[in-house]
């Protein structure tokens, strides 16, 4: 499959990187305090942050993965995209405003507010690091596949070198730009991506006489499954276990997305709760538009490119959107779409690196090691060093995971986020009796049960598609553990609280409650 001119793809990408690097450099001029570095001095408005938030969500997995999923499996791919839109309501109704009012830089700020600082912050940081690591590996692995397609780099060594370059640029964004630079990269990328998918969708709709039904019908004719792709079951199958697995995945999606640490951290970049709300409303609009477009693009790729061609291309399903771009806009549009897709990976990984490094520096270094007496400048320096370490690890992880199934890795990260973070955040915001023991039980209960179930699932061993296909120690039948681990973490938090001594932090509890609901006491 000819995929345009690699030199052109590369130069469009290079131009994009140069422009964003310049912006990051300009944005960084006043990047001195911890607040500047972690939360962009809370200087973004709701609209800007809303666009950046959707940028955080529009990862390689959602842009390439979901449009590819729809192109290959039709209805089942579409099911996946619905979860990404509905999930915003969790953030809007339950989390965004209270989080903004209560915390400053990290999830640990909120969870540890009225609890014993050191154990809770350590637990929150552990959860953040594990979740971010899974998510990051997925992004970096996606970068490998994308590079193979776009730059015609077939050798594993060449791909590894390019993953390293992607990782290095990303670390540079984070080191120099901090949250402000990273947010600007997200905004630019999200706007470009939305323009791309909207124009492509309008073009496709025009080509098929503005009839969605006609696109889907032509698509089904060019899919080896025929009209079965228009109904559920093409990807997830029809056995009892596979259906249950799908329900588990759907639950992890809807509850996990708004619990991802790098998404939660984004709520701190706005000045107050009302702006946090506004940013989610804006993000909802952009996401609804985007995922409606992926439906059109997915079926359009099925119809115009053909599922067999997509599956045979380097990068497999993930190449549906770039191949469609090449089909309708030639090498230039392919170059633009590839540059945007690259930028997506860069920006999302930068956000993850920032979340992980903030969590380590702010929760572990400043609160656990220095017991809250760290010099803020030193804390930022620790955050920068952590960013380099995290960047290095993710390059290694990305090279190792090159070729793995991206969407699947993401779904595990979402299950982890929903299990460790959601229950704990909701309890500490809305339940007065909730205490330190409950917090630790729900974080570790969710995190550990989720990890254990992943290890003993068919994903790791026992099946032809497993990581270790030759051994079989899988006793948990589902590929996604969310259906068990999410309710379990709620239960753990409840039992841990009920069976431990009531804590007498009445003042702190009142302070957190008033602060979460009104912003009084937060200096906002």
């Amino acid at each position: 499959m000819e995929t345009g001119n690699p030199a052109l793809n590369l130069s469009v990408f290079a131009v994009f990187v140069l422009i964003t690097l310049y912006i990051v450099y300009r944005a960084s001029s006043r990047n001195v305090t911890a607040s500047d570095y972690y939360a962009a001095g809370s200087s973004f408005n709701g609209v800007q942050n809303g666009v950046a938030l959707s940028g955080d969500f529009l990862s390689a997995a959602s842009f390439l993965g979901i449009s590819g999923g729809i192109a290959a499996h039709g209805y089942d791919g579409f099911l996946y995209s619905v979860g990404w839109v509905v999930a915003w309501l969790v953030g809007l109704l339950l989390i965004a405003e209270r989080l903004r009012n209560t915390g400053r830089f990290t999830v640990g700020d909120v969870l540890a507010y009225r609890m014993k600082q050191r154990p809770v912050r350590a637990a929150a940081a552990n959860a953040t690091l594990v979740i971010s690591f899974f998510y990051m590996i997925a992004q970096m692995a996606g970068a490998g596949g994308l590079i193979a397609l776009l730059l015609n780099v077939e050798s594993k060594v060449g791909q590894a070198a390019l993953i390293a370059v992607v990782g290095a640029v990303m670390v540079f964004y984070v080191l120099v730009g901090g949250m402000k630079g990273t947010t600007w990269v997200q905004i630019i990328k999200a706007v470009l991506l939305l323009l791309c998918v909207t124009l492509m969708s309008v073009f496709l709709l025009g080509k098929f006489g503005f009839s969605v039904s006609s696109i889907m019908e032509t698509g089904a004719e060019h899919n080896e499954l025929g009209e079965a792709v228009l109904s559920p079951g093409a990807q997830y199958g029809k056995s009892f276990i596979s259906k249950l697995d799908f329900v588990s995945l759907a639950l992890s999606l809807v509850l996990g997305i708004a619990s991802l640490p790098h998404v939660l951290m984004r709520f701190y970049t706005v000045p107050n709760a009302a702006e946090a709300r506004r940013s989610v409303v804006w993000a909802t609009w952009t996401m609804v538009t985007f995922y409606l477009c992926t439906l059109v693009i997915g079926f359009g790729a099925m119809a115009l490119v053909g599922t067999d061609v997509i599956k045979a291309a380097p990068g497999g399903e993930n190449s549906a959107a770039p191949l469609l771009a090449f089909h309708i806009g030639g090498a230039v549009l392919l170059g633009v779409v590839s540059a945007v897709a690259f930028a997506t990976i860069l920006a999302v990984v930068a956000g993850l690196t920032l979340a992980a490094s903030a969590s380590f520096a702010h929760d572990v270094y400043a609160s656990v090691i220095k017991r809250g007496n760290a010099d803020p400048r030193k804390e930022v320096r620790v955050a920068r060093i952590t960013a380099i370490v995290v960047g290095f690890l993710s390059i290694i992880g990305g090279i190792a995971a090159n070729g793995q199934n991206v969407a699947f890795l993401v779904s595990l990260a979402l299950a982890l986020a929903a299990s460790a973070n959601l229950s704990t955040i909701l309890y500490s915001l809305f339940w007065r009796r909730f205490n330190t023991t409950g917090t630790l039980w729900s974080i570790y209960g969710g995190l550990v049960s989720c990890l254990v179930l992943i290890i003993f699932s068919p994903v790791v061993s026992g099946g032809p598609k497993s990581l270790l296909p030759d051994v079989d120690f899988a006793w948990f039948p589902l590929g996604n553990p969310g259906l068990v681990s999410i309710p379990l973490s709620f239960l753990c938090g409840f039992l841990g609280t009920i069976f431990s001594k009531r804590e007498a932090h009445t003042r702190k509890t009142a302070e957190m409650e008033v602060r979460a609901f009104t912003g009084v006491g937060s200096g906002l």
Partner: protein, 138 residues
Amino acid sequence: MTKALWSPVETRQAHQENSGFATFADPDVPSYVDADGKPDFELIRDSDDFRLLRRRLVLFVFPMSALFLCSYMTFVLLSAYAYDFVSHRVFGVVNVGILLGLGQFVTTIIITLTYARYAKRKLDPQTKVIRGMAGLPD
């Protein structure tokens, strides 16, 4: 917020005796700011105004969350377990399942807009009242 209404050494009682500010001396209008000029969080939390805000918020967001979770899980469960129903064609090749999925987009928009409106009308003004009690500007 950091502006101290009283200097830290003075107790609130002493201040009330010495100063002639009717607002603070009047027992009918409790001040929600303590002797250090910091908000008295326990007093605020137990006030009727805060209870009202909390009730308005909780009684909106939890039922709404239950609603969208139920509607989403209904769509998911129907897709998984009611194959014939969701495959039923409505127009062209567009079937019930696709329409239910698009329906989720619509409910998401409706809930988002409803909440934004509710927050603006019922929550933000009440928050303002409490921020005023604590001596904060809007």
